[in-house]
C-alpha cells in the first residue's frame, strides 16, 4: 500500500513537471511579445533579450494607433470579421438545411460536387484566379471581395456540421408546420434557424477566429489599397517595408492589438471553440 502511494505521488510530480514545462514554452512567446510591445525601439534592437522592459513605453500603442494606421487596420478587421461571421452563419445554415430537408432534382449530384471540392487541395494556389474573377465584378480592391468569396464559397466543414445537426432535429415540427401552410423558406426562418442557436455560437466563434487571423487572401485583395488592410496584413506589411528595423515597437504593439481581442474572446467562449473545432474535424 505504502509503495503504491509513493509511486502515485512521484507519478504526479512527473505529470506536473511535464505540464509545467510545456505550459512555460506555450505561454512564453505571447508574454514576451506583449512585454516587448512596451519596449522602446532602441531597447528592442540592442537589448531585446531581456524579457521585462527597463522602461515601460506606453507611447508605442499611441504611435501605432495614430501614426501607423492601426486604428484603420483594427476597424477593417472588425468590419471583415463581422460580415464574414454573419454571412457565413446565414449561408452555412441555409445550405445545411436545403441539403438535409430539401427535395429537388439533382440534389445529390450538387452535394457530391460540393464535397468533392474538399479533395482538390490547392490551398493558396487558387488566390490568383480568384482575384482575377473578382476583378471582373470590380470587387478586387476591397474587403468585399474577401467577404463574398468566404461567405458564398460554401465551406464544406460548416456544411457538414450544420447538416448533421439539422438531421438530429425532429421532422415532426416542420411536418405540422407544413400542414399549417408554412412554406419551405418560412420553416427555415421561423423553426429551424431558432433551433440552431447552440450551433450558431460555435460557427460564429470558428469563423471569427478564421476571419480575424486570415492573412494571404486579405493581403492579396488590399495590395493596391493599404487603407483597407486588416490587422494581420497591416502588421506584416510593416515587417516587409524598408523601415522594418525601426518599427519593431510598432509591430509588437500591433501584434498585441491583434491577439489580445482574440485571446479574450477565446477565454470567454473556450467551450464553444473546442466544441466547434472538434465537431468540424470528426464529422467533416
Amino acid at each position: 500500500m505504502q509503495r503504491r502511494k509513493v509511486k502515485k505521488i512521484s507519478g504526479d510530480i512527473v505529470l506536473y513537471l511535464v505540464l509545467g514545462v510545456i505550459f512555460i514554452i506555450t505561454v512564453f512567446p505571447v508574454f514576451y511579445s506583449f512585454m516587448g510591445s512596451f519596449k522602446s525601439n532602441m531597447e528592442l534592437l540592442t537589448n531585446g533579450n531581456k524579457i521585462i522592459p527597463s522602461i515601460f513605453v506606453v507611447d508605442n500603442y499611441k504611435q501605432a494607433w495614430e501614426l501607423a494606421n492601426f486604428q484603420k487596420y483594427t476597424s477593417n478587421s472588425l468590419f471583415l470579421s463581422f460580415f464574414i461571421v454573419v454571412g457565413t452563419i446565414i449561408t452555412s445554415t441555409i445550405a445545411g438545411y436545403v441539403f438535409e430537408r430539401g427535395h429537388f432534382r439533382g440534389k445529390n449530384l450538387i452535394f457530391a460536387m460540393v464535397i468533392s471540392s474538399m479533395f482538390v487541395s490547392l490551398g493558396s494556389l487558387t488566390l490568383y484566379p480568384q482575384l482575377m474573377i473578382a476583378k471582373v465584378f470590380g470587387i478586387n480592391t476591397s474587403l468585399w471581395g474577401v467577404i463574398i468569396i468566404r461567405v458564398m464559397g460554401m465551406n464544406v466543414t460548416n456544411l457538414f456540421v450544420t447538416r448533421s445537426y439539422i438531421r438530429t432535429l425532429s421532422t415532426e415540427i416542420d411536418e405540422s408546420a407544413k400542414v399549417d401552410g408554412c412554406t419551405f423558406f418560412r420553416i427555415y426562418t421561423s423553426i429551424i434557424f431558432p433551433l440552431l442557436k447552440p450551433l450558431i455560437a460555435t460557427l460564429a466563434i470558428l469563423e471569427f477566429r478564421f476571419a480575424w487571423n486570415d492573412y494571404l487572401m486579405p493581403m492579396v485583395f488590399t495590395l493596391s489599397n493599404p487603407d483597407r488592410m486588416p490587422l494581420v496584413v497591416g502588421i506584416m506589411n510593416l515587417k516587409g517595408s524598408g523601415a522594418a528595423a525601426s518599427s519593431w515597437n510598432l509591430m509588437l504593439a500591433g501584434t498585441s492589438i491583434a491577439i489580445i481581442p482574440m485571446i479574450i474572446v477565446y477565454m470567454i467562449f473556450n467551450r464553444y471553440f473546442i466544441q466547434g473545432l472538434t465537431a468540424g474535424a470528426v464529422k467533416g
Binding site: L19, A95, H103, I133, L216, M262
Partner: protein
C-alpha cells in the same frame, strides 16, 4: 398511416405543394451555388487553361506543354521547395503528434488543474500563423533575440547563433513555431477520443496486472485509432499547405533555400518579392503541386486504413 391519409387528400394538390417547396429550396441554394462555382471550380479551370500559356498578366501566348517541361527538367528550385515542404511537414509532425498525444494522456488522468492546462495549452492555436511567425522571428533574432540571450546566459553557447542564416536552423525555427501554433488542436482531438474509451477496459487490464506502457500500446492506441487516422490526415494536409508562417519568418531566405512549395508558386503568380509575374508557369506548377499533394494524401489513406479499423 399519416402518409396514406395525406395522399388520400388528393395527390395533385400534394404535387403542386412539393413543387413549390423544391423551387424555394433551389432558390435558397442558388446564390451559394453561384459563388461556389465561381470561386472554387472556375479557378481550377483557369489554372488548367493557363498552364498551357505563357502570360505576365497582360499578354499571353499559347506554349503547349512547355511550362511542364520547364517544371520537370529545368526548375530545380521548385523541387527543392517541395522537398522542404515534405521535410518540414514530417519533421514537425514527428514532434507535434507525439507531444499532443502525451499531453492528452496526461490531461486525461483528471488530476487537479487539468482544466487550467487544457485552456492555456490551447492558447497558441487561436493566434494567427502569420503573427506566430513574427513573434518567433523576434525571439530567434540573432543579436537581440531572447533565445540567444537565454542560451548565452545559461552558458550553452558563447556567441549568438544566427538562426536565420542557415537552412537547417531556419527550418528548425519554422518547425518549432508551427508545432507551437498547432499542437493544441491535436491535443484536444486526442483528449476527446481518450474520453470516449470505456473505463471498464482499463479496470480489466489492471486486474490482469498490465503495466502502463503495455496498456497504452495495447488498449489506448487501438481504441483511438480512427481519431488518430483523421487527426494525422488533417495535420499532414494542413502542414503541406503551410504558407503564412514562411512568409512571416524567413520569406524563403537565405537565397530561397527555405522556400516551401506554396510560397514558391505564390510568388510566381503575384510577382511578389521582386519576381516577375508568370501566371502561366505558376499555373502549371500549381497543377503539379495539386497532383503531388493528392497523391500523398491518397498514399496516406491507403497505408493508414488499418489504423482506422483497429477495433
Amino acid at each position: 398511416m399519416k402518409i396514406t391519409k395525406k395522399e388520400l387528400k388528393g395527390s395533385s394538390h400534394k404535387i403542386k405543394w412539393i413543387k413549390k417547396d423544391s423551387t424555394q429550396a433551389v432558390l435558397m441554394l442558388t446564390p451559394m451555388l453561384i459563388g461556389f462555382i465561381l470561386f472554387t471550380y472556375v479557378p481550377i479551370l483557369y489554372i488548367l487553361r493557363y498552364a498551357l500559356y505563357e502570360s505576365n498578366g497582360f499578354k499571353e501566348s499559347f506554349v503547349g506543354l512547355e511550362n511542364f517541361v520547364r517544371v520537370f527538367t529545368r526548375d530545380t528550385s521548385y523541387w527543392s521547395s517541395l522537398l522542404n515542404t515534405i521535410i518540414l511537414t514530417f519533421g514537425k509532425l514527428a514532434v507535434e503528434i507525439p507531444l499532443a498525444l502525451l499531453l492528452a494522456v496526461l490531461l486525461n488522468k483528471g488530476r487537479k488543474g487539468t482544466g487550467f492546462f487544457r485552456v492555456t495549452l490551447f492558447l497558441p492555436t487561436v493566434i494567427s500563423a502569420a503573427i506566430a511567425g513574427l513573434i518567433f522571428s523576434l525571439m530567434f533574432a540573432s543579436f537581440n533575440g531572447t533565445v540567444n540571450g537565454l542560451l548565452q546566459s545559461a552558458g550553452f553557447i558563447e556567441r549568438p547563433i544566427s538562426w536565420f542564416s542557415y537552412k537547417g536552423t531556419a527550418l528548425f525555427v519554422i518547425g518549432f513555431a508551427s508545432v507551437w501554433n498547432n499542437f493544441g488542436i491535436n491535443m484536444i482531438f486526442f483528449l476527446m477520443a481518450l474520453q470516449s474509451v470505456p473505463k471498464e477496459l482499463y479496470e480489466c487490464s489492471d486486474l490482469d496486472g498490465v503495466n502502463p506502457i503495455q496498456r497504452f500500446f495495447k488498449i489506448t492506441l487501438p481504441m483511438i485509432g480512427p481519431t488518430f487516422q483523421v487527426v494525422l490526415l488533417n495535420a499532414i494536409v494542413g502542414s503541406l499547405k503551410m504558407a503564412d508562417l514562411i512568409l512571416s519568418t524567413t520569406n524563403g531566405q537565405p537565397g530561397g533555400r527555405t522556400e516551401v512549395v506554396m510560397t514558391y508558386v505564390f510568388k510566381y503568380f503575384f510577382g511578389y518579392d521582386g519576381r516577375q509575374i508568370e501566371v502561366g508557369y505558376a499555373s502549371s506548377m500549381a497543377l503539379v503541386t495539386a497532383v503531388i499533394l493528392a497523391m500523398i494524401s491518397f498514399v496516406y489513406m491507403r497505408s493508414s486504413s488499418k489504423l482506422g479499423k483497429s477495433y
